[in-house]
């Protein structure tokens, strides 16, 4: 990949903006199109571009597989945990009204949290899947 100078530089330039856009989609999902699913995919695609440019091994130094596994499970647990917290607060499972004194504020907190959980899981699962596929065909040359 050393010869693809233009791709590398343009890719490096684009990656932060893709991540920023992913975060925007994640946290602006209440107001515009978007949400955890889309944001997770966009965020993961930044890492996919990095992999295409620099090889699986270099990307896995930034995002090691064990961290991705923890984050993937953490997203599901965060979502399910919001439900448990709402039960402990006296409501039904995933009833966000009881998360704050004001039902509307509770709904906002609940939605932000579960969307964040969705985003975490989707982003890390897609990265894990991509690494699993791309890592198999990857020759040893990128290790050096």
């Amino acid at each position: 990949m050393n010869e693809h100078m233009i791709l590398r530089i343009v890719g490096k330039f684009l990656i932060p903006y893709i991540m920023l856009f992913g975060l925007y989609v994640q946290f602006h999902g209440d107001f515009g199109p978007g949400g955890g699913f889309q944001a997770g995919v966009i965020f993961a695609s930044a890492f996919v571009i990095h992999t295409l440019l620099f090889g699986v091994r270099n990307t896995q130094k930034i995002a090691p597989e064990w961290i991705l596994r923890v984050v993937a499970s953490g997203g599901v647990l965060l979502y399910a945990g919001v439900g448990v917290v709402s039960m402990l607060a006296g409501g039904e499972y995933l009833d966000y009204d009881v998360l704050a004194a004001d039902p509307i504020a509770g709904q906002h907190i609940g939605i932000i949290l579960v969307e964040f959980g969705v985003g975490l899981t989707v982003a890390s699962v897609i990265m894990l899947m991509f690494f699993a596929f791309a890592g198999r065909g990857e020759p040893e040359e990128d290790a050096s």
Binding site: P33, G35, V76, I111, V125, F130
Partner: protein, 186 residues
């Protein structure tokens, strides 16, 4: 015929052309690219239907991630489809497909008109979402309100499905790679 219908016809015609091209093409790399284009055209179609969130997902997952996963797979398998020796036409699949297709077309006759305001899907829970969500949840994007709050259980299920898919992929091909790494030359 107004402009929107014209765009619909164009996009649907594109979908048909792309599908036929995918069936006939032998080069798998081109086939993967056509899959991506198909997703992109579908996303445009969803956009015409004002489903911005769905279009967004289709463009990101279908055109982006799925294409890249398919290309990663191609890197492992090779890019030419094997040419099968032409056998005689097998009639049974053709008959089954024809009957199923005819049944589906027959089923279309009973469907209510597309997008009509009194369709069953529009009068069940949708009015309540539309009228009450601003006072109950106060999230301007109705899709997010329905997805994360009203249908919280469904979405939790979806996240668990994605997580399970990831676990499945890792169990099937992730583990094996690590074993190969342990052995020095494979």
């Amino acid at each position: 015929m107004n402009l929107e219908q014209l765009i619909d016809v164009f996009l649907l015609a594109f979908l048909a052309i792309i599908s036929i091209a995918m069936l006939r093409i032998r080069d798998l790399f081109s086939c993967v690219m056509l899959f991506g284009i198909y997703s992109l055209v579908s996303a445009s179609l969803f956009m015409v239907l004002d489903a911005a969130d769905v279009a967004f997902t289709e463009a990101a997952v279908g055109a982006g991630i799925a294409t890249i996963l398919m290309m990663a797979t191609l890197g492992l398998t090779g890019r030419e489809e094997k040419v099968l020796v032409k056998k005689k036409i097998s009639w049974l699949p053709l008959i089954i497909v024809t009957i199923t297709g005819a049944t589906l077309v027959y089923g279309i006759v009973d469907l209510p008109p597309f997008g009509a305001a009194d369709n069953p899907s529009q009068v069940h829970v949708a009015p309540r979402y539309i009228h009450e969500s601003m006072s109950e949840i106060d999230v301007p994007n109705l899709v997010t309100a329905v997805l994360a709050s009203y249908r919280g259980f469904d979405t939790l299920g979806e996240v668990v499905v994605i997580f399970t898919a990831g676990v499945g992929v890792l169990l099937l091909i992730g583990r094996r790679r690590r074993k190969e790494e342990e052995q020095p030359h494979e």
